[in-house]
Every structure is written in C-alpha cells, then in structure tokens.
Symmetry: D3
Amino acid sequence: MSSYKYAEELKETVKKLSDFLSLEELHRQRYKGESLPSEKQLSEFITLCRSLIFPGFYGSPDVCDENLLYHTGINTEKLFELSAKQILAGLLFGRDTCDKDFDLRSLYELAEQKAIDFVSYLPEMRRILSTDVTAMYNGDPAAQSKAEVILCYPAIRAISNYRIAHKLLSLGVPLIPRIITEMAHSETGIDIHPGATIGEYFAIDHGTGVVIGATSIIGNRVKLYQGVTLGARSFPLDENNNPIKGIARHPIIEDDVIIYSNATILGRITIGKGAVIGGNIWVTENVQPGERLVQAKAKP
Amino acid sequence: MSSYKYAEELKETVKKLSDFLSLEELHRQRYKGESLPSEKQLSEFITLCRSLIFPGFYGSPDVCDENLLYHTGINTEKLFELSAKQILAGLLFGRDTCDKDFDLRSLYELAEQKAIDFVSYLPEMRRILSTDVTAMYNGDPAAQSKAEVILCYPAIRAISNYRIAHKLLSLGVPLIPRIITEMAHSETGIDIHPGATIGEYFAIDHGTGVVIGATSIIGNRVKLYQGVTLGARSFPLDENNNPIKGIARHPIIEDDVIIYSNATILGRITIGKGAVIGGNIWVTENVQPGERLVQAKAKP
Amino acid sequence: MSSYKYAEELKETVKKLSDFLSLEELHRQRYKGESLPSEKQLSEFITLCRSLIFPGFYGSPDVCDENLLYHTGINTEKLFELSAKQILAGLLFGRDTCDKDFDLRSLYELAEQKAIDFVSYLPEMRRILSTDVTAMYNGDPAAQSKAEVILCYPAIRAISNYRIAHKLLSLGVPLIPRIITEMAHSETGIDIHPGATIGEYFAIDHGTGVVIGATSIIGNRVKLYQGVTLGARSFPLDENNNPIKGIARHPIIEDDVIIYSNATILGRITIGKGAVIGGNIWVTENVQPGERLVQAKAKP
Amino acid sequence: MSSYKYAEELKETVKKLSDFLSLEELHRQRYKGESLPSEKQLSEFITLCRSLIFPGFYGSPDVCDENLLYHTGINTEKLFELSAKQILAGLLFGRDTCDKDFDLRSLYELAEQKAIDFVSYLPEMRRILSTDVTAMYNGDPAAQSKAEVILCYPAIRAISNYRIAHKLLSLGVPLIPRIITEMAHSETGIDIHPGATIGEYFAIDHGTGVVIGATSIIGNRVKLYQGVTLGARSFPLDENNNPIKGIARHPIIEDDVIIYSNATILGRITIGKGAVIGGNIWVTENVQPGERLVQAKAKP
Amino acid sequence: MSSYKYAEELKETVKKLSDFLSLEELHRQRYKGESLPSEKQLSEFITLCRSLIFPGFYGSPDVCDENLLYHTGINTEKLFELSAKQILAGLLFGRDTCDKDFDLRSLYELAEQKAIDFVSYLPEMRRILSTDVTAMYNGDPAAQSKAEVILCYPAIRAISNYRIAHKLLSLGVPLIPRIITEMAHSETGIDIHPGATIGEYFAIDHGTGVVIGATSIIGNRVKLYQGVTLGARSFPLDENNNPIKGIARHPIIEDDVIIYSNATILGRITIGKGAVIGGNIWVTENVQPGERLVQAKAKP
Amino acid sequence: MSSYKYAEELKETVKKLSDFLSLEELHRQRYKGESLPSEKQLSEFITLCRSLIFPGFYGSPDVCDENLLYHTGINTEKLFELSAKQILAGLLFGRDTCDKDFDLRSLYELAEQKAIDFVSYLPEMRRILSTDVTAMYNGDPAAQSKAEVILCYPAIRAISNYRIAHKLLSLGVPLIPRIITEMAHSETGIDIHPGATIGEYFAIDHGTGVVIGATSIIGNRVKLYQGVTLGARSFPLDENNNPIKGIARHPIIEDDVIIYSNATILGRITIGKGAVIGGNIWVTENVQPGERLVQAKAKP
C-alpha cells in the first residue's frame, strides 16, 4: 500500500495547483484574518431567524410560555452578533483590503449598524410571514393546521429566506443575500432572487422548480404552483455581446393572480389583477386583469 | 467592537418578539416536557428504516452474513423506540395538554401500539420496495445493477419515505407522515403526499419536480418521468371562500401507465390502463385505456 | 413505559428481517473488511476537489497567498488517498471477493493508479471549470462577480461534480461516478449523467429539473435553463421486453445552442449549431443550425 | 485481510460473553427504557451548576450584565430537568422495576421534588463556595486574583463537586453523589467522599492525592495540602469477616487546622482547633488544640 | 489585525521546524499509510472491552436481557477489528518499513492472530475482574453495592486497563500495553506497569499515586491504599552509566498483604503472606509473613 | 411529568442567581465581544505545540518526510493565530475594558508581538525537550525506546506544558500560563508552577503528586519521583494576616540531584549538587552536595 512511487506525480500536481497564474481571475489577495461568508455560519443565522420568528417550530423544542423571554433574549443577541460578522464578510468581499486607505474598524461599525437594523426588523417580518402562512393554510385543502404549514411546507422555508435576504439586500449588504436564497433553493427547489419584490399573503404550492427573477414585482395574495418561471425574455447586449446588467426584465404580477404549474412568464410584462394562468404554457405578452389563459389542446 | 450602544435596540426587539400577542395563532401553550416532532430524530428514523430494509446499502457498512442478525436485532429495537417517541409527538401535537382530562400514559401506550404495528410491517415493506427496485432496474437502460438503483436513484429514497409515511398515516399518526415525505421532497425534488395510494413495481425516472397529490390512486407497474404533476384542478369552496378539505380531487392512474416529463394531470380523472401521456402537456379529462396523448406540434 | 409486552413481536420481526431469503437479489455476500462506497467519504472527496480547484471559495477559509502551497500540498495528498479508497470500493462492488482467484492487492494497486491519474488531471479540470464560470458570469445580467458565480450558483456545483464523475468514468471506475452526480442532483436539482459528453463554456441558469441523459453530447458555449430535459425517446426492447442497455439514445447539442426552460428534447436527434429552443416544448426531431423553435400560441 | 477464518472463534466468544451465568451478580434485569446514570449527562449537569454559580468563568463566555438574566433563566431550567432525570436514574438503580407494585410515576414525582430542592439551594451554594475562593486566594501567595483561583485551581472544582454531591446525598439521592465526586477525583486527584461534612472557607492547595473519607467532619477555615489522607484506621468486622458498613470511622478536624502534604490522619480521632500537622506523618491519636506535630528527624 | 508583518518570521520558523536535522533521533521515516497507535482508537478499544465485560455499566445503556446477544455480537466483532488494527500499529512501530524484506501482509496476519487470542480471552478476564469487584465491595464499608464499585471506583478502571494491557503484553504486542495503562494512569492517578503480575481479588482503595513497577509480583487478596509505591531501589548500570534494562527489581507481595497509604516498598524484596505495612513508610528489606510494620512515632 | 407546579420556585431561583449583589467580588463588567481564556482553544493550542515539536507523535498521524513541510506550514500559522487570540484574552482579563482610554487595537498588536516571539521560540523548545526525552529514556530501565517515552510518559506532557507556560510567562502573559500547567496537572497529576525555573535533561518518573512551587529553581540532570513536593515552608504575613505575595520561598535544587518518591522539600533551602534524597521524608534545611538523606528506620 505504499504510495511512494507516486510522490513525483503528487509533487508536480501540487506545484501546478498552487501556481497563481493557473488561478487567473479566480485569484484574489485576501486580507489576513478577513471574515469570509461562511455557509455554516449562515445556516446557523437562518436557523436563528426562523426560531425567533416561529418560536417552538424551529430552534429549541424547549420554548414555552415560561421561558420565551429567556430564549428570545439569548437568540436575539446571538443573531445580532452573527449577522454583524456575516454582513462584514459581505462588505469585505471584493474590497482590496491591502489598500492603505482601507479601514476595517469603520467597516465593522457599518456592519453593526446594518445588523441592528436587520434585527430590529424581525417583529415586522414575523407579521408578514404570518400572512404567508395564512394564505397557504387557507388555500390548500390538504393542510390540516397552520402548524403543519410552518413545519412541513417547503414554501415557508423558501419565502422566509427570501424575506430575510431581501431585507439584507435593501440594507446594502452584498453577496450574502444571494447565498441565503440559494440555500433555500437547494433545500426546496424554489429559486427566488433576493432582488424580487413580493407582497403579503404569498403562497407557493409544492414549489419545486419555481424561479422568480431579480426584477420581478409580485402583488398581494398571489399564488404560484410548482415549476412556474418568472423569467427574462431577452437581454439587451453591450458592445462585447454580453447582457447589460441591472435592467428591469422580469414580469409584474398584480394582486390575486394564480399561476399553475410549469407555466413560464417571460419579460417585463404585466399579468393583470386576478388573472389565472394555466399550466405548462409560455407567456411573453401582457395578460389582462381577470383573464384566464390555458394551453392549446393536447391531441391523442 | 463594543455593541453596548445597541443595548436599547436589542432590549426593545426582545420585548416585541416575546410578546404573545405578536405570535397570534402561531402561539400555543405547550405541555412541559412534551415530545415534539424532531427533524433530527425523524432523519435517524428514516435511516434506520432504510438500513433494515436494504441492509448493507444504507446504515452500517459492516453488515455481512455473519452479523446480520445482530445488526437487525439492535436496529429493530432502536426503531421501535424511536418510532414510539415520534408517534407520541405526533399524537400530542395540537392536543390541549393542560386539559385536566388529558392522560399522557394512555397516549403513550397508544403510541407504542402503533409503533409495534409499524415495525412489524417492515418485512412486507421490504417485499414491496423490492418490486420498485426491479421496475426501475428493468426499465432504465442506464442502470448497471440493482445495487446502483438502491444506492443512487433518488426515486428509491422518495418512494421509501412515501411507503413509510403512508403506513404511518394509515395507522392514524398525525403530522409525522407529512414531515417524512417533505424530507424526501427536499432530498430528491419528488413530492409525494403520504395520503396517495400507490401500487407495486412503481418507477420514477430522474424525478425532480414530480408532484403526487393527497388523493391520487396509482395502480401497478406505473412509470413517471421528472416534472409530472398529479394535481387537483379546482376546489369546491366553503362559505369563507376557502377550499373544502378532504374531497377526492386528484387523478386515478390505472396499471401500466407511462407519463412523460413535465406532463400535468389535473382533477379526479382516470388515465386508463396502459395509456401513455406525452411530455409537457396539461390533461384535465379522462384518457382511455391504451390511448397515447402528445403535445400540439411546436413550430419554428 | 415498559415495552416487554412487545418482546415477542420484536423477536419475530428481527427473525423475518434477517432471513436471507427475504433479501432475494438484494443480498450479496460481502468480503469482510471490504471498502464500501461511502456517502460521507465521497462528500469529503467532493469538498477536497472543489477546494483544490477553487481555493478560498470552498474548503478552508484561511487560504491566502502565503500558505497556498501548504494547503494545496496537504489537500492533494488527502485527495489521493481518499480517491484510491473510494475507487477501490467501486472496483470491489459487484466482485465476488470470496472467489479464490480474487487478488485484493493487485486491485488496490489498480485503484491507486487510477487515483493518481485522476489527481493529476485536476489542473486541467480547473482550466475547464473556469470557462464555465466565465460563461455563467457573462451570460447572466444578475451576476455581480465571478466570485458570486462560484459561491452561489448551483450550476457550478452540478457541473463540477459532473466533470469529476465523468473523468472517473473515463478511467473505468464503476458506481462511484453515478453516486457523485446524484449528490449534486440532490443538492441542486440538476441531474447530469456522468456518461454525457459536455464541452467548455457550459452554462445552466437556475437549473432545477434539468436532466442530461447518459449518451448526450453537448458542444461548446451551450446554455440551458431550468427544467430542460435531454432524454431518450424510446428504447429498443430485448426478448424480455426490457430496454437494451448501452445504445446511443440521447440528443446531440451542437455549439452555441440555447434551450429555454422546461423544454424537452428527446431521442438521438441533433440540435444544430446556434439553434434556439423555446420553453415548455417537446422536441423529437432534428433542428437545423440557427433555427428558432417556440411553443404553439397559448389561448385565452 | 479476511477475517472469516476466525468466524467460529468470534461466535464462540459471543456465546460465552452473552451467557447470563457468566455475569453472576453483575447481572440485573433492567426495566426497559429505564433512566441510567449517565456520565455524559452528569458532566453536563456539573458544567451547568458551575456556570450558574460562577457565571462567565464556566459555561458560555458570552455572559455579561445585559444578558445575565437570560442565561440564568435558560440554565436554571435545563439544570432542573437534567437533575430530575439523573435523580430518577439514581432512585431507579437497584430497584426491582419488574415488581408489579413498582410505580414509575410516583418515583418521577419524587425525583422532581428533590430536583427543585437542589436547584433552589444553588444561591446558598454560591455563597459558601465564595468563601472557599476567598480562603484560597488569601492563603496562597502565588494567587494573582480570585479569577485565577476560580479558573485554574483544581481544588475549586473538587470542592464544587463535593458540595453538589453532598447536597444530593442529604436529599436522599443514591449513587449519583458518588459518581459526581469521582468525576472530580479523576479531574483533580482529590477524592472527597460525598458523605463528609465540610465547613466554610475550606482550602486545598495543589491537592493531588488528597483523600477525605465518608464520615469525616471538617470545621471552618481548614486548609489541607496535597496528599493528605483523612482515613479510617480499622473496621469492626461482621460474622463474615467483612467490615460493618455505616460506622463513624474518619477524623474530626476542628476549625482553623492546617495539615501539610502527605500527612495521614486515621480513625475517628479529633484534631483540635488551630492544630498544625506536619507533612509525611501518620497520626492515629487525638491532637490537642493548637498543637504542632512533625515528622521524626530524617538522617543523613 | 493584519499579520503580514510577521510573514517572514513565520516562514523562518517553518523552515527550522521542518528541518530533519533538528528532529535528530525523534525522526523516523514512516511507511506511507502505516497504522499508528491512536489514542482515540485505543480509547474506543478500552470502552469496548469494558462494555463487553460489564454490560450495562459501560457502553450502551440500552443493554438488557432481550438484546444482550445482539450487543455482544456487534461489540465483539468491533473489538476484534479494532484490536487487530492497533496490534498491527504496535508491531509496525519501530520497524523499518522501507526495508525490502518487509512484508506487511504477514504482519497483518500475525496481528489478527493475536487479536483473536485477545478477544477469546475476554470471558476469563470477566471472571477475574469479578473477583476484584468482590474484593473491593467486601473490603470497603463505604461501598453500597457492587454496582457502585463498578460504576464509581477508579481502581476498577485502572485494574481493567492493567489486565487488558498485561494480556496484550503476554501476546507479544509492543508499545500498545503501555499506552493503555498510561490512559488509566491519567484517568485515575494509578500507575500499574503492564509487565507486573497480579493475582485475583485485588483491591486498591482511593488509588491516587499508586505505582506498581514493571517486575512486581502480587499474590491473591492483596489490598493497597492510595500513594503506595512498589518501586525499584537501585539499578545496576551499564558501561555508559545507564541502568541495565530487563532485570527483576520490584517487590514480591505475597497473598493477603495490606499496604497502607503512601508506603514505599523498594527493590526485589518479599513482603510475606498476610503482612501489614503501615502508611508513609519506606521499606527496603524483606518483611516476614504476618509482620506489621509502622512508622516511627511522630513527635509534637 | 409537568413541571408547572415548580414554575414559581424556578423563577425565584433565577432571580436570586441573576442578582449582581450575590456575585459580590466574583462579578466583573465585561467588555462585549471580549476574548476569554478558553479551555477548548488552549487545549488545541497545546496539541498544536506538541505536534510541531514532536511531529508524528502528536497531531496528525499522516506526517511523513514528503509532507513535513506542508504540515509544519499550516500548523505554525494556526498556532500563531491561536496564541495571539489567547494571549489577548490573558491581557484583557482583569482590565477595565469600559475605561475610555482602553485601546483594544494596540492591545491586540501587543498580543501578536508576543505570539510571534512565542512561535519563533519553538525550535529551541524542541531542542530542550529532546534533552528531557533523552534523560527519561536513559534513566528508566523500563523504557524500550524514545518513542515510548514521547508517546506514553506523562512527565513529557507535564514538562512540555510547563516549558510552554514558562515561556509565555516570561513574555509577560497573565493567567494563560497557569491554565496551561493546570491542564497538565489534571492530565498527569504533576503540578509544576509556570514560574519555576528548570534546567535541561529534566526527568520525572511516574509523577503523580509531584508539586513544584512558583519560585523553585532546578538545575540540569535532576530527577524526581512521584509525590515529590518542592514547596514553601512558611509565608511572611502582611498586616491582614495573609501571606505576602512574590517572595522567593521554594527550594533550589542543584545539578544532578535525585529525589525519591513522596519526599517533601520545603522552603528556600538548597539541595546541593549530586545529593540524593530518600523517599517519604520531610526536608526543611540545606542538604550538602553529594549528601544522601533517608527516612528514620521503620519498626515492626
């Protein structure tokens, strides 16, 4: 079982893999001791948010009336510290920390300020997420209780992560929001870009394959089924033939719209209030309020 | 790095988040020491089931002929205890445990009874799951061996969890079955409601995005591809405009049917024996035995 | 809380579950001490590959210019050892190790040889994966930086695992490649068979529900959206009515093709260079170079 | 690397080791699901006690003025639950739980009652342990601060465990107290039997090898050095030539006594108030108040 | 918080510390992939031995009559494998594995043979350790039950490790036995060299500081108290003024001897049957059977 | 199993335990986010030191000639970072961090400076510890190899920790050195104060119960046996009757002295070069060079 005969090959591979040139643009000189976005810490961060918003459903199963204050106290503080660290990691990412004007201390203070803003927003976030729970409970004949919705429905996890990420994005935190929504994407198959704007009483059923693009705008009481895409149709290109970044390119979904499974809505079009979009169809033009759109008939 | 300047904001947020009023309907007074459905314990429960059904493929890699008895003995006992606890958690959930007529001891005895029924069913479950393995091995030209099917195919994980959850549901266990199928949903993208009825030799290929609704009935030797939905079409509403719960609203799929990728079958319709449904179509009416249904021609 | 009353039932179930007959074809006599494919070890293996290819993005966050050599040295060696073990596990799987001609030592030497070939290929793999990162960064207006693509985009994880698995398959390693792509399938909802052939600058957007079959051939600069299937249409059957294994049955996608969400491309057809396939359609015939194919119009 | 050739030997050994006869008196029929004294849980129990008594020195390093209430709240509750469980384990140990008159529920209630008594005693225990800290800080010229005493001095750990164990013993809890003092014995080399009675301002310097027997009585402001034994001299024997249990057989050490290293004090004798016992001597007779006893002169 | 200014110092230190010359005799070229004595594995090994010998007191708390066979089966097999590995590590240690005559395979077979001999000896070891438990229970008025002795008395741990290590030494295993007794030394303060020969019904009370040298011979029914040394008096020196290894140099303690705390017995002398040695004395000459030896009187 | 009836008692205890007054002098206001001495981190710190000094004996078992550089590189860096953190924790301890002149940044820079000094000293520490290994190997007829000494002898662990702690103390680090020697005390029963001065080729045999006081001075080639105390005799008292801190009060042991087990040497006396002190005696006066001192004869 000796591997000495391969010592040369290993040495050669190590040399190639630690050659900075081969890292090309993937390489960046990092500030020593710099906070990095950490999947493990962000996962703990999400668990803390969920356990503060839905105490007893996520996090410690020991929460009860007598100790709610204690648990909330500890978790709020932990969340503040964890979010300050990860927000700092986001702010640092992409900065040239070797730059002599770079000032870590003021960046850390900025991170703390954003962290306290985020934490202070949690009570309002609980209120909004409660409307989502209500929408999913009322709209699904298979749901036995709100508790079942909170504990089992993947959409609640995806929407929680989205609302957390969206808040962080609106506070000007880079990178972290996207990691957070991708964590929910991996867990649920639901891909909501943190840049999207989504109203209250939002429901997604089953959810696998749902895609909601970065500039989408969704009203109140909207319901989506699995596989629905709110995507971009085409991208204006720059002189290098690459898409220009930052242009509004995803649909506007007005209040009370229902979109059935695997429907694809593309481009900055508007689906009017109360419209119903049938499954497995491709929509690239405006739909009038109240309109019902279905697939061309299948044939035997 | 002091956070003392935010002490007031944190205290304020803690106060808001531990205010019972803000928890609205999310709040329930819990029995102190009450068993709660635990994702970690249920995950161990699923691993135990899989390792008893497919020894050597899941669980300890040390199982061999000489020690199969020992491993089976230990794992069967562990499974019995774990399932009694989680079944109790399901039974307790939603009960008013502060009610003075509440009797934990008799509830625990009930849980143990359901647990022993569940554990005693495992040999039969192995037999049925073997037919599913056979169906997937025979039906997929890419499958090299049954071992590959058991080890790699996500559908085996999803169908195992479904068969476990369905048995628990039929024993009258609340909540737990749904958590178990959602665990497979997250792992595989396949969403089978524990209430569905599914025959032997069942196959799902690739699987991501498959949805099988709560009142679906599926015969023997049925095969589904990725993205297939067996859903509800519309829900009779009650006086509050919410769907009435508990009505049969999903399709009946008879023996030997094949449904290709991303097809959507909606409503309590019947897809007749041996029918073939093409991909990416929306079906809301009965399909005759042997019929072949495909999408309207795409156009250049 | 006594369970003694169920002692008999438990003993009976243990007996049934450890009966070799009930294991039917699921049973195989294993070599004592035999390496087995281990999900935990393979997960560590994948993390090592990713951290060697994208140092600082995966694996230890402490990598910086000063210590890149040390980290690369340790990780390359670890990877060599881990891959030798898992390759051996793959080679052993399905072998009758009780056969008296069976020679573990020479099999282990074979595994080591394949392992050193795999490890030596990593620098080239880094080069190719860099082209994929570039394609995804350039092609997505929502991408802020290449770092974001590497850290957040599920497609990078799925394509990394595919390229690793494909290399192992080409080195003649059984079983392990498929487990590796299924790990990415579970993590991302993207299902790429290790047998597929895929060119450089490959991009998948969102990705959930993508299926790329075992004999698919994909050129350079191809882009797929979520839910795209490159599948088989029908399988020639053998005398037992089961599909014949090993026949080319999936599409050829030429350079510069774009396929939009939920499109299904079936059979050994060719999608010509630069063609564009619209979403939600089912394609079973050749498409000419440069052609644009879209769904039949939906109707109100 | 096959071990099949030893299959027979292993089977034979298993048979012998699982033969009840070979377990003789070591065997007892256990109540199924019975709580057992658990080293891991007791270790957590000790950590909780220490962190409640000396917040910020043991347990979470995050305790500060702002959150002391929250941490204390959570830890007090945890301690109550953990101690109820382990007290129950102690009460169950040695009971014939198969006896049909055995009533687990009333035993559990008894355990809870003892647990609340124990927890309610912690504030007083903090007061007493503070006197021990003060004694050790004042008496040792090497001590830089009380914090150093609490954090570093093994005697504080041994005395904490003793005071905890002694309280439990006085509440009538079997077995658990002894396990707790043996945990400190292993950690510090200081062996204090939980049955001993020890006053305030108690100090032990260095401590390795100290033994304090079950019926010892120690006054206030006593100081012991390493290796001191307070032991029994001889035991009255019963008809089987075994020592009779439960007789007072260890020394009484009055207030303000100092005993130097490796001195051995044996039998129910009294060391009078303020006496000083030199090192490495064997004392088996009463020592008068204020007396100073030293070793016979060594000789070159 | 940059550490770049120290990059040079770190590089310099790394260079010095990885200089083979500085390792002098501490360095040895190791066989790649060689098993090494592992404290973690040996700790697991000890736990397995203890749990097989005293089922229900060590190891899984779930052992009961119904499942004793299963637990014993699994643990016996695990123990066999673990001991084969660690015995191999012991055999390899100090071997020049680069020597071309070196044959790993035959060494592994030798290790397995010793391992099966060790495992097969466990039932007899249980019998002997039971006599030790009995001796300690009968001889200590503070012992409430044999269970308390097994669970709490450090001497049981030290003597178990000694009996295990002594057996391994007698099977010709290098290094490992000493590591095992030192593990007990650290846990209990009792230092028994694996080379000592010790009879049945052996008791140590309290134990801290006991030392039993490599060539000691101890009869049946001997009892030692804390701090007793059975040591060497002087060593014949070789030409380099270093002690000659391997000469009998520790005491012979005949049956039924009691030695009180901190007594020091030095040299190859004999303490005759039934003798009693008082505490804190230094004995370097033979003691007659039945003799009682005590310290010169202390003086006020 | 409800504990609600105890809710009041728990609340009351929480109130008492979180009352600042009850914490008296144990309380200090801590800087938020302040590094604290962490047993876990210090344990990792010790393991890193040991693995850098004795590569292959402690730490990763994978170290070999080919990768020594990589392992040393990674571990040296880790050690630097860990020691900077813990040195900072030591420096912070006892500081009033709420003081407005307090400057964390400059304290951290100070900690880093001390850390680099410590790390740079490691090569020299390896040289000195090698002399200790040599002394113990040569002086003990039971030692089979230097490897056995490094791996098994508790004295090596105690002396390593002492030499590390002594270096830190000489760099002006508070508190941490004492924690480090107490960790070895707990592990080995050997209590060496970090303030002691100890020469090369130092040996301790068995070691349990050895105490070496803070102002002891020990020459080269000294050997101690178990239970030896180098202690203080009496302490000059201050006006409050407490010992005055910081006075030289422990023995000076000159080169080539041997002290046998359980001997107690007290006060600032000198044991002259080459003297031999017998076991179990109490020495409080100077001993001449070459003198041999033994216990008064025991009597039958």
